[in-house]
Amino acid sequence: MAKVVILGAGFAGHTAALYLGSRLGKDHEVTVVNRYDYFGFVPSWVWVGVGHMAPEKTTFKLRPVYDRMHVRLVVGKATEIHPDVGDQYVIAEKEGGETVRLDYDYLVVATGPKLNFAGTPGLGPGSGYTYSICTLPHAVQARDKYLEVVERLKRGERLRIVIGTGHGGATCQGAGFEYLINIHKDLVKKGLRERASLTWLSNEPALGDFGVGGVWVRQKGRFVSSEEFIRAIFEEYGIAWEVQRAVQRVDEKVIYWEDRDGRYGETPYDFAMLIPQFTGVPMKYLGKNGEDVAAKLTNKAGFILTDGIYGLPYEELVKTPDAWPAVYQNPSYPNIFAAGIAFAPPGPISVPHVTPNGTAIVATAPRTGMVSGIIGRVVALNIVDLIMRGRMTHRERMTEMFASCIASMGDSLWDGAAVVINVYPVVPDRTRYPNETGRDLGITYMEMGLSGAWMKRMIHETFMWKLQGRPGWTIIPE
């Protein structure tokens, strides 16, 4: 009987748990360690953050799902990984502080990120001044603050709202964009929009980059870039933007940043939601004799090293599609896999930049949503392969992967909207697609309209169905 331990039950870990449980659960032991006893559907938290969706509509309890799938759930967090052959186990700290040892034959690290608010002084809820929608409690806090802002606007105050990224190396710009436009739409509906100034503040090299190097599509016989497209939306909605900014620190009223030319500037605000830098979730990686083996498992940021080619300069990386991992397997410990944000990408997709002062402004590669789910599936199916047949048969590099991003621009099914962006592949592959964009122009696509709002709602409903392992869940693509 094989023992599989999965750390994390986000998109990647939970998808892996569903596949592993449904295929191995009865005869083998599959255990998930997760901080919460519920799954949170992150893409809908932009609606929670403006008070348009109740938090409980975005969650479901994991235990009933795992009971059906023959998966064991440990609510807590992993604190140590002991990867050496002969004595491989994880130490997890349960809710009450009790520690538990979980032996494994295969380990999937899908912890998601540590939200590194400390990387930018003054950033974040709790110890800082800004808000976040990266966790459900954070989205609820952001909602409460936003609704306070709405009350102040109703009283006639004029306020500044700033949304974007709070670090030069942040990712997930798409979520910030969705939150910004949902705020715009909400304020328009409440008749308060003219009293609020909205600003997009981001580390992207250009508007509409979203950490994937932007998107180019053919429309009406000409190329249209996501930069032009997003600029047209911002101009239409009266939203200001400041890109190529690395936020340095935040105080009660001002966001201090450095731009790509090394100039320092300030953006005053009354309400700000800024996505922090993501790093790997801190854990101890200990060898047989108690020695630190973290260097064999993680990169400097704490993300798990996999079968990618690391250390290539950006100019080389864009010419090397095989630098992106295919099976997400750690080279030093082949029974350890990483999925979702936890895996270390070989580099950024967007053009990186270092300011004259030495500050890196790099929109880090996004590995959330559909990408996370796909990687979770590939990892799970390969573990099933290894247990059943002794060899892996599944692979999917981000340079071979399709992803669809549906960015909400108002949740109403009557007059809402969303931008639907299909990219194939997620990471441009200029060897297979020798055009300027490195992507398949027959598939890569972008459109805005009410149908997008319907798509976004449909995805919420179908994914809540799929992720609870209900009948037909495998038919719905990740």
């Binding site: 047209a232 598939i443 149908s451």
Partner: protein, 38 residues
């Protein structure tokens, strides 16, 4: 780039958007099928 009056109208015009909803779903299903999904 600017959205024309016609484009803005179509973005909200329900019958046209129903058509686009069907097309978008087909586009995604085709792309998922085209992608490796190994």
């Amino acid at each position: 780039m600017r959205f024309t009056r016609r484009e803005k109208f179509l973005m909200k015009f329900h019958p046209y958007q129903l058509w686009r909803f069907i097309v978008l779903n087909l586009k995604i299903l085709k792309a998922v099928d085209h992608s490796k999904r190994s």
